[in-house]
Amino acid sequence: MKGKDIQIKVCMGTGGLAAGGETVLRAFRESLKEKGIDATVDRNCSIHQVGCRGFCARDVLVDVIIDGEKTTYQYIKPEMVPQIVEEHIIKGMPVEEWTVKDDYRQFHEKQVKVVLADCGEIDPEEIDSYIDRGGYEALRRALTEMTPEQIVNTIEASGLRGRGGAGFPTGLKWEYARKNPSEVKYIICNADEGDPGAFMDRSIIEGNPHSVIEGMIIGAYAIGAKKGYVYIRAEYPLAVKRLGIALEQARQRGFLGDDILGSGFSFDIKIKLGAGAFVCGEETALIASIEGKRGMPRAKPPFPVEKGLWGKPTVINNVETLANVPYIIRNGALWFAQYGTDKSKGTKVFALTGKVRNTGLIEVPMGITLREIIYEIGGGIEGDRRLKAVQTGGPSGGCIPAHLIDIPVDYENLTKVGSIVGSGGMVVMDETDCMVNIAKYFLEFTQAESCGKCVPCRIGTKRLLEILTRITEGRGRPGDIELLEVLSNDIKLGSLCGLGQTAPNPVLSTIKYFRDEYEAHIHEKRCPAGVCKNLLTYTILEEFCKGCTLCAKVCPAGAIVGERKQPHRIVQEICIKCGACFETCKFSAIKKG
């Protein structure tokens, strides 16, 4: 294989590209060419694009590997490239000031990478780079050495549960479908990652699309499906592109199509683009959408494994679930089950975002505590502020308060405290975040995304939102909290699908743990975190104001008046309470309260 001696790997996930990954890659090519090293041809030096390695906040991340020794650079810009080429690649001396420091190692120390093991290492647009690391070995073994029943048993023994949210045992789902005598069956990969604040599936497909495809083929063989679909969000253009390339390459190598690897088994996969409806993450709605209809859920049972796509037995698995499959088949069920807790096996990928220092994509063994995630991997709260809560599970989840962060993260424990593992979004919030506002934010989301089929969800979420809105605007009434609780419980009980059944969770969990904040809004007309605009006023403290005019310049409403070098004043009638002045003032002369 070419390029063994010097490898340069540039992060080109969505995060890496947004930070300028493409220009960095080009700069490396040009700079090497200038020095007479043609990286695309030279046997000793090669440049690769790789997917997300998790620490997107530090992008562009670049690995330089010389004779197996890896140096990682962070925050790389094209203009820094010539120096790296000159000093490191030619002279062998890494440019120390740009390399990652201890916090980068700390970010990775507690992580265990199963699904993400090859993400950030392989070129997602090059099938050989996956095969070189053992890719499609599991497929070969599955098709030539194992019966469908053995595969299902292995997956069951591994304890793998659905990573899309509900945590249903994958092996069991496959077993139901396998036993179904129907001639026609389907397997669908659910890549409609709709939870705001979650990007696990996007990163997996962008970084290692073949692992998902391999998992799908194995699943199809196990249940006896000849056709598969990947239902993916159109909002993820890069993932769609790379998946398309990967499918084509897999077809060329004979991993997809007729008589795969001479086993007599035939299977192919088609991409279906979502059209922007959150509810399509729900299985039956997703099926309706693939059939070309409005994505509305229907009552279950019958479950999709009995009657799914076009009335045929259908298995729907999430991206991360499928990406685990090749690694389980390759390494065995026991290897996988060594990670995790009693009932939640393996690892889980989380999107760690919000007010932590180190934001990014992390993979941790089930059972790790939130404290370890936030303070060790995440490096603590930005600006050393106080942690207030962690939101997990997106709009279907809840807010876990700071005093509970020592609970182990697994399906059972998060449910016990009123949240869920969900698809893996984890948004950290500090003392400057208002919990009533967060509840309102999620209800705005679910209310807009409710498909409207069943009344409790359609009207219930609307009423919840109205009440939350009036509370945040200072028009809350005594009894509103109790009303929210009653309404929430009714919506949970009465809704048809998971969207409605979980939509009140953000409200219930914030009331449970932050009732005092609701009370402050309602009774004292005060937002303790200083977020809710209508309950805020900005004033300029004359004794600190130097009259620098900076605030007047940034004020989008033109609400700040005053002469240069004289204390300024905010005209309250014009102020839109955007907080721009508060953030710009260098003399702490603006008071929020």
Binding site: E291, V427, P556, C578
Partner: protein
Amino acid sequence: MEEKLKKILDEYEREEGNLIYLLQCLERDFGYIPEDAVNWFSKTLDVPPAKFYGLATFYAQFHLKPRGENIITVCCGTACHVKGSERLLSSLTKELQIPSGEDTSEDGKFTVEKVNCVGACSIAPVVIINKDIQGKMTADRLMKEIKRLK
């Protein structure tokens, strides 16, 4: 127009009769769902227009009105929300003088839209300017970008 529609019809027939796919093609080629196109397909395929509109109004990806030359998409995912996407949105609508209840400026140069989440949460807040994803956005930088496009 008819040329384009015939081409889409060809693609549609390869796609097992999926109307969502058809609408996605229209959106791709025209930037929105033109009424004339719906009527043409309705006749050609003998499918009532209500079917098309039922889908077009259900899915967020479809637009019934032409959109601006420049599309500015503000991500309103949770991470972007806690990092101030709301403020970016309000400064945009103010700067571009977008009438309330609308999403496109009167001169047709800019469309401002919200998206639920683009999954680039670790570089929040995110704004997509004509398909170019830009992270860690500030109101200041955003205004500079807008001026450049004006």
